[in-house]
Subunit: 122 residues, 2 copies
DNA sequence: CCTGTAGGTAAGTGTCCACTTACGGTAAGT
DNA sequence: ACTTACCGTAAGTGGACACTTACCTACAGG
């Protein structure tokens, strides 16, 4: 898999983080400014910003007692590139399928076990 | 916010669902075929496919006793369009910021309460 | 009709994570 | 120095949700 893509999806997967991302798209904002327009408390916003920062999607700099957060162009561009790659890869399947008129997909035996046990993940 | 975008992010936010999506990008697959290459059981795959289907990202059709799942071009294209819109919107902020040399952002009083209580969400 | 394969669904459980409150720490104003 | 605004972090909790097992239905072959 693509770890960058997964990290980006994990960062934007949460609705609140997504909302923060969208608000920062309009311009730099302080933590209180973000929290005042969101249905969560300020510490929650701080934690979300930490995640977004670790994902390379935002940067911060001090402005007096406040701390202004803004989107990180490089991180956003890189994540977008990974997404674009995924879309094109997903779309290429249709073109390939459209050119071949019919593929029977005749896999007969292949996995005859019903409800096999599996290992837990991590 | 954008409900479509959020639905798509919710659908692809999970790592397993993302893996299923990626595998389906290579071509149509049955449930057992997916489950055999994933670290989860078949029912789990079925549930993920249900979510992806409700999000309009995949379609299914019967093939004998099996059921073949494939990506839905329209749903994928629509989700991609929403993503593209988000990226460009996010990028437009930098251009606007680059053209204006300095904006003081002098918001003085605006929210003077510290750690205000808020309502839970849903 | 019976057996075996394929898959959807119900019900239950464990874990993660998005929140909260509480606290400490820095910068500006008086 | 004292106060006040702003912010990050620690610690703890509740709920969602990604899993599991168990059960039932549908199709194909003998």
């Amino acid at each position: 898999m693509d770890t960058y893509l997964q990290a980006g999806l994990d960062a934007l997967g949460d609705a609140t983080r997504m909302a923060i991302f969208q608000k920062l798209a309009a311009g730099p904002l302080a933590v209180n400014q973000l929290a005042s327009t969101l249905p969560v408390t300020r510490p929650a916003v701080s934690q979300h910003l930490k995640v977004l920062k670790e994902a390379g999607l935002v940067t911060d700099n001090r402005a007096g007692t406040r701390r202004l957060y803004r989107l990180n162009p490089e991180g956003v561009a890189r994540l977008r590139a990974h997404f674009d790659q995924m879309w094109t890869q997903a779309m290429s399947a249709f073109q390939a399928a459209a050119e071949t008129p019919e593929s029977p997909v005749k896999v007969k035996g292949e996995s005859h076990a019903t409800d096999r046990r599996r290992s837990r993940r991590s």
